[in-house]
Structure formats: C-alpha cells, structure tokens
C-alpha cells in the first residue's frame, strides 16, 4: 500500500510530464495524473495528495479539494475489486434494490464497505449510462448487465 513517501518511478514521472505537455496549462493533467497515482499507490492518501501537488506546483489544499469532489478517487485503502451497483431510475425499475440486497447478504457488507479479506469494495452508484442493460453494475473496468442473483454470484465467485 501507500508508502509514507510516495514516489513515481522514472517512467511514471516521464508519463506525468507527457500528460502535462498535452494541455495548454499543465494543470489540465491533474485528473489523469490522479488516476495514475491511484493505479500506482492504490488510493489517494494525504501523502499522495501532497506528492501530486508538488508535481504540479499546486497547493496540497487544491489537490485535496479536487480529490474529494470526484467519486472515483479513493481516500482510503479499497478492496482488490470494486463492485458498483447502479441504483438510479432504470436500474431501480429493473430490480436494482434486490441486486443490492443480494450483494449485501452475500458479501456481509453495506455499500461503502470492504470485505474483511480485502477482496471486494461494494458501492451503490448513480446512473452508469448502461440503462438498456438494467439492472447493471460495474466490476472494476467492466460493465455487466441484465443481472440476476445467479449471475451476480458467478461474477463474485470469479473475483480473486
């Protein structure tokens, strides 16, 4: 997990400079660099915020404000897999509450929680814009739709 002094490798630092060079003002690369930082360090701790702020010459408070504004940056260690169940209208009409309840029972956690073994973080999220396959969820980078408790179980079984 996050070392107390986070540090990108030379290759990652080169990637940061490449990203910064794409924008008229390097600050435009802040969101992409935070994505990179989360991939590398697991989550965005206060130390990571300070480190990223240093890469941009920004105040750590600015980076903190950005990190907390968006839902995809985690400020605490997350599970090895993120399961985000959509609970907006189309999914709701298609049975999202039942899917969410099934996951609650199956994983023994509430949305926002992580299983004790660190395998899964469960989230309830707003529309992922895949309403045509409602009810749906996102597991890491992948969208999965037309869910039933059975297909949800199979998905969870596959996660290491």
């Amino acid at each position: 997990m996050t070392p107390s002094r986070p540090q990108f490798t030379p290759e990652q630092q080169a990637e940061v400079r490449r990203l910064q060079g794409l924008y008229p003002d390097p600050q435009g690369a802040l969101l992409p660099v935070l994505h990179l930082a989360q991939d590398v360090f697991g989550y965005i701790s206060e130390e990571v915020e300070e480190y990223v702020a240093g890469l941009f010459g920004l105040a750590p408070a600015h980076v903190h404000e950005v990190v907390t504004f968006y839902t995809m940056y985690f400020r605490e260690p997350k599970g090895r897999h993120i399961v985000s169940v959509c609970h907006n209208l189309s999914c709701h009409l298609a049975g999202a509450p039942g899917i969410l309840d099934h996951l609650r029972r199956r994983l023994g956690i509430e949305p926002g929680g992580t299983t004790d073994d660190g395998r899964v973080t469960l989230l309830a999220v707003e529309c992922l814009c895949a309403c045509e396959m409602a009810p749906m969820l996102q597991v890491d980078d992948r969208y999965e739709g037309n869910l039933t408790p059975e297909t949800v179980d199979r998905l969870i079984d596959q996660l290491q």
Binding site: L22, Y23, P24, D25, Q27, G28, A29, L30, L31, P32, L34, H35, F56, H62, E65, V66, F69, Y70, T71, M72, Y73, S84, H87, N88, L89, S90, H92, L93, A94, E126, C127, L128, C129, A130, C131, E132, M133, A134, Q138, D141, R142, Y143
Partner: protein
C-alpha cells in the same frame, strides 16, 4: 417537413453498428468514412458553418441549441488558440447513446471533429470521456491512434482524450471546462459564454458526441437532405435510448420527428410489467414526466417543449402501471441531492431537503402540507442558480407531484 416521421428512416448514425469491426478505420473507410472530411477540405470554414446552420442540426447533448449558430459565436479573426471540446461525459440517467457511438463508430466522431475544427479554426481538441467509461475510452483512444497513423490527425488538428473521474455535473459545459482545467467541476457564471472565453481562457466550442457525429453526413449529403429528415425547426435523426418497462430496451435511431408512442410501441416493442403504460420520461431524468395520455408528441426540441417537457438527451424511461411514482421520485431526488455541486445555496439545500421529504413520504411519514411545501420550495429556486442543473431537478419534482398527486396523497396519513 418532407417526410412523415412514421416512415422508417435509413440508418445514418447507426449504419455501421451491426458490423463487428465497425470501430476500425478499415471498416469506416469501406462505408464511405472520411469522404465528408475530403469534401470539407475544399470548403471555406464559413461555408461549413453555413451548411450546418441550414441543416437545422441542434445540439443533442441536452440543451438543443442550434449547432451552426453556436459555431458562429467564435470571435472572427481571433488571434490566439481556439478549442473544440467534445462532451463525452454522458451522465444523464436514461441515456446511453454516446457510449454506443464511442464504441461502435469512433471514427465518425473523429471525422466530425476534423470538420468542426476546420469550421471554427481550432487546432487542438479535447474529448472529455466520463471516468467510468473505461472500455469506450480505450476504444476511442485506439481510433485516435489509427487516425494519427493514417495522417488524418496531427496535420492541423491534435486530439487529446481526457478522462473524467466521476461527477454528473461535469456534463454541464462550464463544469466540464473547470474539470478539464484540473479543478473540481464547478460550473461557471455565464456570460462570458465558452465560445468567447472557455477552456484555459480561450474561445471554446463544446459539443456533444452525437452532435459532431452528424456533421460528416451533413457535409457529404447536403444540409437540405439532413433538414428534410426532421421537422420544420430541427433536422436529422437522433439516437433514442429506451429503458425501463419495455420489451426491447436499447438504442434506436429515428427522425427527430418520431412520436413517443412510436418509440415505445414500435421500436421498443411495447410495455412490460402489467403491460399498461402509466408514465414516461422522454428526455433523460431531468425532463418533466408525461402521463400515458400524453405520448402522441413528436420528440423534437420544440415538440416536447410545447408538451411542457424537454427533448434533452433523448433518454426515454418507461413506467407501467405497477410502478410507484412517489418511489420513482425518491430515486430521482436522491440522484440530484447526490450530484448537486453545492455552489449555489438554493440548489444545494433544496435538492437535499426534497430528497429527505420524498423519502419521508414514501415511508408513510409524510404530512398533509408536505406536497404543497415541496412544490413551493422547488419553484422558488428556479432561474436563480449558476447552471441549469437545478432547473433540471425541478422538472421531475414538480411534474411527478402535479401529475400523480393522488398517488402521493395516498401515502400520506390523514391527507
């Protein structure tokens, strides 16, 4: 209007969707791809904008603003950089179409961007893809690399593909610009409009993915052809995302003059649940709801405005008689409470408060005066906020309660 909306229209935006390799440059070229760009190269920039104006293309991201007119707002003879920004932050509940375009026809967007950039004099374009759209982002980024290798990009236009990080408000064009600049996605007061002072302080045109995907066809086949596909005041076809209680949910292309009834019963195969329609949201969650007896309307911007709602993002959400409207409003209100950026007091306070009120009503703890209080409070904030998010929230608050009041009252003890 030269064509009855009931006639099936040849697929335009979706013409390649059936091909498994539709996202590749080879497939795109085989079906006439990049010929619009070749034609546009022979046109003066002003002639391109003029053609888009005559086509009656209106923005398909939500606001329905005439696209050519927007392009013409870029200051003439501007010396510094001008940016084209593509809004691929699709987030309006009920809407899935831009995801289909990014995954199945990414080169159509690139070709449209080349033409739009020529029209407005831009040499650098950004495509802002919502953070959760990882697969569409990869697909589109691969197409951008192909377009660089083939020499379409990199010779006058560069394209940066930018990923968001989860926030509905970044779909609002000035929120999107704030986010692109490396800040939280707070919308900005207008004026100045982005066309005058937008991203990084430069004139910026923000257009939706689908809007720009239409542009190659307009150049290729002419503005008159495009205009004739639609109604008097809006040209073309568009992609309707249909979800909820229907037999065949999915993305359907039809004239902007198609009726809501046709979409539900012909394209999407009719209503499921108990089979009887109760209500439908025609243009994404922020559009006012319609009752079953209000679906004989055309789906164009003016048709739905006259019906007291809006075309928005063309996300159609269908509810049959077994759906509880108060419960649906609770879900929608939770969304607005969660997504308000918190900058304006009426929006921040009212969205949270109305969510708590609807929850209380659904749980059977409502009071007699609650409904009128909600209507009153909701109305008071309209028109006072920095962006249209709040007015978008008020559409459902008011319409769900006004059109289905008895259902809310039935949940309130002693109402």
């Amino acid at each position: 209007m030269s064509q009855s909306a009931a006639e099936p229209i040849e697929p335009i935006l979706t013409r390649n969707f059936g091909r498994p390799d539709s996202h590749t440059l080879t497939a795109y070229r085989e079906t006439g791809g990049y010929t619009g760009w070749a034609k546009a190269l022979a046109l003066e920039p002003a002639a391109i904008t003029d053609a888009v104006k005559r086509s009656n293309l209106r923005g398909l991201g939500g606001a329905g603003f005439p696209t050519g007119t927007k392009w013409s707002f870029v200051p003439k003879g501007h010396a510094g950089p001008i940016y084209l920004v593509i809004n691929a932050d699709e987030g309006e509940p009920g809407t899935v179409k831009d995801r289909y375009l990014l995954e199945r026809d990414p080169h159509a967007l690139i070709e449209g961007m080349l033409i739009a950039a020529r029209a407005i004099g831009s040499r650098l374009a950004f495509v802002y893809v919502r953070g959760e759209y990882v697969a569409p982002w990869r697909r589109f980024s691969a197409a951008v690399r192909e377009a660089y290798d083939a020499g379409y990009l990199g010779r006058g236009l560069d394209v940066v593909v930018h990923r968001g990080a989860g926030a509905y408000i970044c779909g609002e064009e000035t929120g999107l610009i704030s986010s692109l600049e490396g800040r939280k996605g707070w919308p900005k007061l207008k004026p100045p409009f982005p066309a005058i002072k937008g991203a990084f302080g430069a004139p910026t045109i923000v257009n939706n993915v689908e809007t720009i995907c239409q542009v190659p066809h307009i150049v290729n086949r002419g503005p008159e052809w495009f205009a004739a596909l639609g109604t008097q005041t809006q040209g073309g076809t568009r992609l309707y995302s249909v979800s909820g209680r229907v037999r065949r949910s999915g993305v359907y292309e039809a004239s902007v003059g198609v009726t809501l009834r046709q979409l539900i019963y012909e394209h999407a195969g009719g209503v499921t649940g108990n089979g009887r329609l109760k209500a439908v949201v025609p243009g994404g969650a922020s559009a006012a709801i319609l009752r079953a007896d209000e679906i004989d309307v055309t789906m164009d911007v003016d048709g739905l405005r006259n019906a007291g709602t809006m075309a928005g993002s063309a996300g159609v959400i269908v509810m049959d008689e077994t759906v509880s409207i108060p419960d649906a409003l609770r879900v929608v209100a939770r969304f607005y409470a969660h997504e308000s950026c918190g900058q304006c007091t009426p929006c921040r306070e009212t969205t949270g408060w109305i969510y708590r009120m609807t929850e209380r009503i659904v749980e059977g703890r409502g009071r007699k005066e609650d409904l009128d209080t909600i209507l009153d409070v909701a109305r008071r904030g309209t028109g006072t906020t920095i962006c249209a998010f709040y007015d978008g929230a008020v559409g459902p608050y008011i319409s769900y309660i006004e059109k289905f009041r008895a259902e809310f009252e039935a949940l309130i003890p002693h109402a």
